[in-house]
């Protein structure tokens, strides 16, 4: 049960360059490009599951978030091929268009990618993050698609992280948002139908929606991580950018144990110091805890 302490802010597209150089100066580290595909699953509505368990404790149905990284070859279009993969590439993503299509994600979720190609994608990510300027040729993309649609034998799903997050801690005058996250890692799978979607339906969960995040992150002192994100919803009908015109800024620190009060207090101070440092430029704030509530059909019930 990790405690994630976070603050959020935003910046418009024009302010991106300045913010990047500001944060590079503050953190002393270069910006690192990353991406993640988040798929969110909800309890299968065809099952009538009660909100209590065998010990008659209240357990509210929560969404499950499955996250993994994607090779950048999925995300860039022809014009970006050959450009170095660094923070500047994010400036090209200003509208709804993103190369990742619904079909590609469906292949990832339902058929799976070959283990071998998965290994290579991981290295691509690493190269990309190190600004190696990896050139991705189009054959790669075609290749992956072909693989994904061929026979589903000798396959395993690639690693995913599975997370269930609680609603952030209550309290009117909280200086930071504090959320408990339960997480496990899915390494691989096997059997007759090893795709991630059939595994999830085995749990009693069905796919609800998915989104893609591309962003840059800064590793700062005291375990503080600052991310600038752009988020797209990936749908069959077409993709749409949720963060139109700007970037979502997330500053967070993970505290391994929720009982470690000293650590949590210390972390809170670190976040407040960052907030103070950026005050007047970027307003980092605590979001409404109800907007970070992943419970299903919670209605108006609040604990």
């Amino acid at each position: 049960m990790v405690q994630q302490l976070s603050l959020f802010g935003y910046i418009s597209d024009d302010g991106y360059d300045l913010l990047i150089s500001t944060l590079t100066t503050i953190s002393g580290n270069p910006p690192l490009l990353y991406n993640s595909l988040c798929t969110v699953w909800k309890p299968n509505p065809s099952y009538d599951v009660e909100n209590v368990n065998s010990r008659n404790q209240l357990v509210e149905p929560n969404r499950i978030k499955l996250t993994k990284e994607l090779p950048f070859s999925y995300l860039i279009n022809e014009t970006m091929v050959g450009q170095p993969l660094n923070f500047k590439i994010l400036k090209s993503f200003t509208n709804d268009t993103i190369s990742l299509s619904y079909v590609m994600t469906r292949n990832i979720l339902h058929n799976e990618v070959l283990h071998t190609s998965n290994a290579s994608t991981t290295t691509e990510i690493k190269n990309g993050s190190e600004h190696a300027g990896q050139i991705v040729n189009e054959n790669d993309i075609v290749d992956v698609d072909m693989d994904a649609s061929s026979t589903p034998s000798n396959r395993s799903c690639s690693p995913w992280s599975l997370q269930i997050s609680d609603i952030p801690a209550a309290g009117n005058n909280r200086s930071v948002s504090m959320q408990t996250i339960a997480e496990t890692i899915i390494l691989s799978s096997a059997g007759e139908n090893p795709s991630i979607s059939s595994l999830m339906s085995g749990f009693g969960y069905v796919f609800e929606y998915q989104y893609l995040t591309i962003g840059v992150k800064f590793f700062m002192r005291h375990g503080l991580i600052l991310e600038l994100q752009k988020i797209w919803q990936i749908q069959e009908a077409g993709n749409s950018q949720i963060t139109n015109g700007g970037f979502l800024i997330k500053a967070y620190i993970n505290v391994n144990r929720g009982t470690d009060i000293d650590r949590i207090n210390y972390t809170e101070t670190v976040l407040m110091n960052l907030k103070k440092e950026l005050q007047g430029y970027i307003e980092l704030s605590v979001p409404d805890r109800q907007s970070m509530d992943s419970r299903v059909a919670h209605g108006n019930i609040l604990i």
Binding site: D17, Y209, S240, T243, G245, P287, S291, M292
Partner: protein, 220 residues
């Protein structure tokens, strides 16, 4: 007492760092001014009394008023005669500030200008400099003082140029401007418009509910 050619500026005090500054007031026509001042004071006093009497609801007796007026007139005569007596001295005295100076509206400025001592800030600076330099100004001759001042000037110049050079090395803004790709950095646009609401974005990532502006609601 006529000493028209003496200067108000104290002599032999070019080295303003000298601690014991002896002002020479011999040039000031003190006696003349004092005599005039005393008579003027008497006159203003009488005039003020007459004014007060006149403004009373009940006028005083005519003989009281007349005697007062007589006194006042005699005082006025005394003032004019005194002025006549010291005419030569007073004619050659330069009054500073000039009579045109708006004394009523800038009283504090007059007092500052007419100060005989340094203002407290200047005193503090001098004290600080004395402590910082560790030089006892009493023991030094003017030539030595000049030499020290020259040295100090040289050091200041060196420090200024060195600092300037070092500053250029760390002038990120200027360097970035050279890079054409980063020209946009110079456009400081921190007060940019709010592109979206953070809560809406988070709501999407946690529940799938899209912000209102972004089309149809896919779930729930």
């Amino acid at each position: 007492m006529s000493q028209p050619n003496t200067s108000l500026v104290p002599e032999g005090n070019q080295g303003s760092l000298q601690e014991d500054v002896n002002f020479d007031f011999n040039g000031v026509p003190g006696q003349a001014l004092d005599a005039v001042r005393m008579r003027l004071a008497q006159l203003t006093h009488s005039l003020r009394r007459i004014r007060d009497e006149m403004s009373k609801a009940e006028l005083p007796q005519w003989y009281t008023l007349q005697s007062q007026l007589n006194v006042t007139l005699s005082q006025l005569v005394s003032v004019t005669s005194t002025l006549q007596h010291f005419q030569e001295t007073l004619d050659s005295t330069v009054v500073y500030p000039l009579p045109k100076f708006p004394t009523t509206s800038h009283e504090s400025l007059v007092t500052t200008l007419l100060r005989k001592k340094n203002i407290p800030e200047v005193d503090e600076w001098m004290k600080y400099v004395r402590e910082a330099s560790g030089i006892s100004t009493n023991l030094l001759k003017d030539e030595e003082m000049a030499k020290l001042l020259q040295q100090d000037k040289e050091i200041t110049n060196w420090a200024r140029t060195t600092f300037g050079k070092e500053y250029e090395k760390h002038d990120f803004k200027h360097e970035e401007a050279i890079d054409e790709e980063d020209v946009s950095l110079l456009v400081r646009d921190s007060k940019s418009s709010k592109p979206f609401d953070v809560d809406d974005i988070l709501k999407f990532t946690y529940t799938g509910e899209k912000p209102v502006s972004a089309g149809s609601n896919p779930t729930l």
